[in-house]
């Protein structure tokens, strides 16, 4: 469990990072928190010839909250955001998701952007970003582009980034008035990746109905999975007990989840509906809090 030989680069400027990526492309990997990359190097599942350590790039080590939303740069750690009371207030679901990631030691090092770039389909953040309609600010030496979270995750451990691109930051638009969210998951151990997880977001209308509902699941498919039919079923309702039972039933009947060493497809089929229902039930509970 020793990595193969690589050349180590420790740039301090974003431009340097982009130059290195431009020069080495396929041969290079970015090292952020290292919490996913180091194990892969040690198992020799990856053997990049060049490692570009971005930990000294000060400009990437920040996040900022404004009226329009939250921008999280490449080096902001899970723990930075988790411990921010402003972030917790503005995006309770993000805070909740973060506390479900691994353990404190890992959250101290691991980065939000690293987790998104890593694109593990059982991770919490990709689903939450999709539920919150996050946007990836992707940059290379030659171009900049914005990729909506919904188009960013291509396959298990594969994102839309090409080998010359850096995920410079992610932007999460501010949540609308009366918007609520919840994250629910089942894991084997505390801090594990999700066997099944669901990020649900919606907005309570004046009429007392939930609108613009988003339901995105972790751990059930090669990418975070948005459940459009279920969203349609619940949007415009009051999330009554009957609606919750119906959506659970729908998810259970329609989902064709993946099977892996962690659990069976049967299990995921059964329990995804449960976590979706539990997430939605928490939106229902929050209805009184948002005064509608």
């Amino acid at each position: 469990m020793k990595p193969s030989r690589f050349i180590y680069h420790a740039p301090t400027q974003i431009e340097e990072v982009l130059d290195l990526l431009w020069e080495y492309g396929d041969e290079a990997k970015i090292l952020a928190g290292g919490q996913s990359l180091m194990p892969m190097l040690n198992f020799r599942l990856l053997a990049p010839a060049h490692l570009i350590d971005i930990n000294r790039v000060k400009a990437l080590n920040q996040y900022s909250l404004s009226d329009s939303g939250l921008t999280i740069s490449a080096l902001a750690r899970h723990r930075d955001l988790e411990l921010s009371p402003e972030v917790e207030l503005a995006y309770p679901i993000l805070h909740e998701g973060l506390t479900n990631i691994a353990h404190v030691q890992i959250r101290n090092r691991g980065t939000i952007c690293g987790s998104l770039a890593h694109a593990d389909s059982a991770a919490e953040l990709p689903s939450i970003m999709m539920a919150l309609d996050g946007q990836m600010n992707v940059r290379s030496k030659s171009s900049r582009r914005i990729v909506p979270a919904g188009e960013f995750f291509r396959f298990h451990l594969t994102s839309d980034l090409d080998s010359t691109e850096l995920l410079e930051s992610v932007f999460i638009p501010s949540m609308k008035r009366n918007s609520v969210g919840a994250f629910d998951e089942v894991t084997r151990r505390k801090g594990d990746f999700a066997l099944v997880g669901a990020a649900v977001v919606g907005t309570w209308s004046e009429r007392g109905t939930i609108e613009d509902c988003r339901i995105v699941c972790s751990g059930v498919a090669p990418t975070p999975l948005r459940l459009l039919e279920a969203e349609e079923l619940v949007s415009g309702t009051d999330l009554s007990e009957e609606v919750l039972v119906a959506v659970q039933q729908l998810v259970m009947e329609s989902l064709e989840p993946t099977e892996d060493v962690h659990t069976s497809a049967q299990y995921r089929k059964k329990v995804t509906g449960v976590v979706v229902r539990r997430g939605l039930a928490r939106l229902a509970e929050q209805r009184s809090v948002v005064n509608v």
């Binding site: 469990m1 084997r188 151990r189 505390k190 066997l195 049967q266 299990y267 059964k270 329990v271 449960v274």
Partner: protein, 787 residues
């Protein structure tokens, strides 16, 4: 021969019975531990091992040229360069009926599991060594393979050992009474098939071996983080064809966990020292976590087909259990399944018993003992059926147990079977009703049942599970200790056995200080080096306190007599008037008059050059004692678990865990508690989390902690622990083993608790660990693809 005393009353001892903090803690907690890879070796080459990536294959050719020519590579060895040591690694415990198959240190022709050593690269460092592994070209001819006992025992299954007609390794039957007749005549008979999965030991420090040939003394020095230094030395001496004095084996003072896998003997232990001699240069090999997952021995896979016959009151009439055991690719030893065979009857009076083992080879890394060693599975078979009897008759499970327990006045109790040590299975001591009562004092059954019914109304499913066990510990043949008075007037205790966190430096200082009567700060304990004491067996099978403990006691008692006799001669006073106090021997009623231990050492050990010594005055105060128990000493215990099961997700929450434990005299309550709590954590892992999974053809699927759910501190509840003390009559300290009891009952008690919680669904728990997937499958009856 001096008359030896016994410790029966801990109230009267200065040190024994008190929960002294471990002497080891300071260095361990401040990062000062010296584990094998921390030893300041200096100029050692590092080895890495190429392992078979086929579960079964014939090796047609190995090309090591490219690897050898890599910069920094010193040498590459395969079977063809290692002819002299291609010798069998024999099983630790065997049986004449064993379908014996040779296990070599490195693959010669057939690789039989993924992880089996194929080649060794020695390089300037481990990075280069691993680079070189990738350059070795092995041409494999893949062969059919089997990845489970069920596959191995199927009609027409591919043979694990080509040429052997069957994959059965051994088929043994033990009986008491007339089980067949009893099954026919029993008013009630229940049957079930129960499966327990594979799991590993997962020491925080994996295996490690380093070796250097010392030219000036012509001695091979081997550092090995083994649980059994003398055993390894013996094996090496046999394989290398040298005398035991030509090898010095050192188990470092700090070893990060043993749990059984490090008590076995492995190919790497033969290869590394030999290669160091071949290269005439020190070499070390540090097993990494991935290697540990695929090449360190594991345990647990068993499938039990169990039947119980009982009367209308729930009294056991007969137990019949036929079980399949996974030996892995080779037989490292038969201890585990034979322990299972004799652990089955537990604390109950069972007039008729049939215990049958079908052990088989599979294309998986071999199994051997692992904390609990065959007992957790036996307890699953017995204790799950006790609950089924209660369910069948509409009785409380605790009541069914109570009616069947062996009573305190029935000891020694002959079960009618034979234990793994070859002696008749005769329990020496115990108080099983007190264990059950201890639990019932802590859980009000009527109250719990009311709460259980109430909780169901709000969709909460609570369950209570019990499991009791009797555990053979402290087995022979012997263990040794050497106790010496040093020139500085201190007492040096040298043990043959090496610890892996148990606190020997503390507890054996307590034993020696109390036997001698000196200040405990004068006693030092060292261990793990074959140069300290010529013979020993090792730390395993919860045996050291009841074998090395009495050895330390005996040797120290003899040293005390010597010390007093020397003092008597020096003071010209009758030895009966002398007492040892602090660091002096003094006249009982005139403490001014006395000599120090240092002065005694100077007279007795250093002596006066060329001068004769008085006839009654001992010289060279140094005593070595080997204690051989007449048979195993039987510890016992009970686990009670209360769970809440989420019937929508299959997640289990443990609300309470109570452990009652009887290991006889408790020499150091803190250390015993540590052992039991550690064992309990292992048991929780086995019950709910840990499972080494393999594909049908033997590919390991869980080779990192991402996939293998070892519990963390977050998953392990703190148990409420109580002791019942029934001292063993078999040794002067009255002690029995405590290293495994915390593990043994947990898989059964948790499974019983979960089945109890799910009784409204009629769910049947048949497989352990209780993953969320299995729990839901039990509730909703969906099929899982089990191999």
């Amino acid at each position: 021969m001096t008359q030896l005393s016994e410790v029966r009353d801990l109230e009267k001892t200065a040190n024994l019975g008190t929960g002294m903090l471990r002497r080891e803690d300071q260095r361990l907690l401040t990062g000062g531990g010296q584990f094998l890879d921390d030893l300041p070796f200096g100029d050692f080459y590092e080895a890495a091992i190429l392992r078979s990536n086929y579960a079964h294959a014939r090796i047609l050719s190995i090309d090591t040229e490219a690897a050898k020519s890599l910069n920094g590579v010193i040498a590459v060895f395969t079977a063809s360069e290692l002819g002299p040591i291609l010798k069998d690694l024999p099983p630790k415990v065997t049986n004449p009926k064993l379908n014996y198959q040779v296990r070599l240190p490195i693959v010669k022709e057939y690789a039989r599991y993924i992880g089996e050593p194929v080649a060794v690269v020695v390089a300037e460092n481990r990075y280069i060594a691993e680079d070189a592994l990738e350059l070795i070209e092995v041409e494999y001819e893949p062969l059919e393979s089997v990845g489970s006992t069920a596959q191995a025992l199927k009609e027409g299954a591919p043979p694990v050992h080509i040429g052997s007609e069957t994959n059965v390794a051994v088929h043994l039957i033990q009986q008491a009474g007339d089980p067949e007749a009893a099954l026919k005549s029993s008013p009630h008979v229940l049957r079930e098939t129960l499966h327990v999965a594979r799991g590993g030991g997962h020491s925080i420090e994996a295996r490690a071996v380093a070796a250097r040939f010392d030219g000036p003394t012509q001695q091979l020095i081997v550092w090995d983080n083994t649980q059994a230094p003398h055993y390894v030395r013996q094996m090496l001496a046999t394989i290398y064809g040298v005398s035991e004095d030509e090898i010095r084996l050192i188990a470092p003072a700090d070893i990060g966990g043993g749990f059984g896998p490090k008590a076995q003997f492995y190919g790497e232990e033969v290869l590394i020292p030999w290669i160091a001699m071949e290269l005439n240069h020190p070499v070390k090999w540090i097993e990494d976590r991935w290697e540990n997952f695929i090449s360190a021995t594991m345990e647990r896979t068993q499938t039990h087909h169990v039947e119980v016959g009982f009367d209308d009151d729930g009294r056991l009439l007969v137990l019949k259990d036929v079980f399949e055991h996974d030996q892995g690719a080779y037989c490292v030893g038969l201890k585990v399944p034979t322990i299972t065979m004799s652990t089955l009857p537990g604390p109950y009076v069972i007039p008729n018993i049939h215990s049958e083992l079908i052990s088989c080879y599979t294309n998986i890394v071999p199994t051997s003992s692992l904390r609990g060693a065959g007992r957790p599975q036996a307890v699953v078979a017995m204790e799950r059926m006790m609950d089924r009897i209660a369910e069948h008759l509409g009785l409380e499970p605790a009541e069914v147990r109570r009616r069947n327990l062996i009573q305190p006045d029935q000891f020694p109790y002959a079960v009618g079977l034979t234990f793994r040590d070859g002696s008749p299975l005769t329990y020496d001591s115990g108080n099983y009703p007190a264990l059950l009562d201890g639990v019932l004092e802590r859980i009000d059954l009527a109250e719990f049942r009311a709460e259980q019914i109430e909780a169901r109304k709000s969709g909460k499913f609570l369950g209570l599970g019990l499991a009791m066990f009797v555990e053979g510990t402290g087995i022979g043949p012997y263990e040794g200790a050497r106790v010496r008075l040093t020139n500085t007037g201190r007492v040096m205790v040298s043990l043959a056995a090496s610890p892996q966190g148990q606190g020997y430096e503390t507890v054996y200082a307590q034993v020696a200080a109390d036997a001698i009567g000196c200040d405990i700060d004068l006693v030092s304990v060292r261990h793990g080096d074959t140069s300290f004491i010529p013979y020993g067996q090792g730390t395993f099978a919860s045996r050291i306190t009841s074998t090395a403990g009495p050895a330390v006691w005996q040797a120290s008692t003899q040293v005390k007599v010597d010390i007093i006799d020397v003092a008597a001669s020096m003071l010209k006073i009758d030895s009966g008037e002398l007492v040892i106090r602090g660091d002096r021997v003094e006249v009982g009623d005139d403490p001014e008059k006395g000599v120090s231990l240092a002065e005694i050492a100077s007279i007795a050990n250093v002596g006066r050059h060329g001068m004769s010594v008085a006839r009654n005055q001992p010289v060279a105060i140094e005593r070595t004692s080997y204690f051989k128990p007449s048979q195993a000493a039987y510890s016992s215990g009970i686990s009670a678990i209360i769970v809440s099961v989420d019937v929508e997700t299959g997640k289990i929450e443990i609300l309470r865990s109570i452990l009652g434990h009887d290991c006889g005299t408790v020499l150091n309550p803190l250390l015993v508690e540590g052992q039991v709590l550690g064992g309990h954590a292992h048991g929780i892992g086995n019950a709910i989390y840990e499972e080494a999974k393999y594909s049908k053809d033997g590919q390991p699927l869980t080779v990192s902690y991402l996939d293998y759910a070892l519990p963390t501190a977050m998953e392990v509840p703190t148990p409420e622990l109580f002791h019942v003390v029934s001292p063993s009559p078999l040794n002067p300290l009255g002690v029995k083993g405590s290293g495994e009891g915390g593990t043994v009952p947990l898989p059964a008690s948790v499974a019983n608790a979960v089945e109890d919680a799910l009784r409204p669904f009629g769910a049947r728990i048949r497989e352990i660990p209780l993953t969320p997937d299995r729990v839901l499958a039990a509730i909703y009856g969906f099929q899982r693809d089990e191999t």
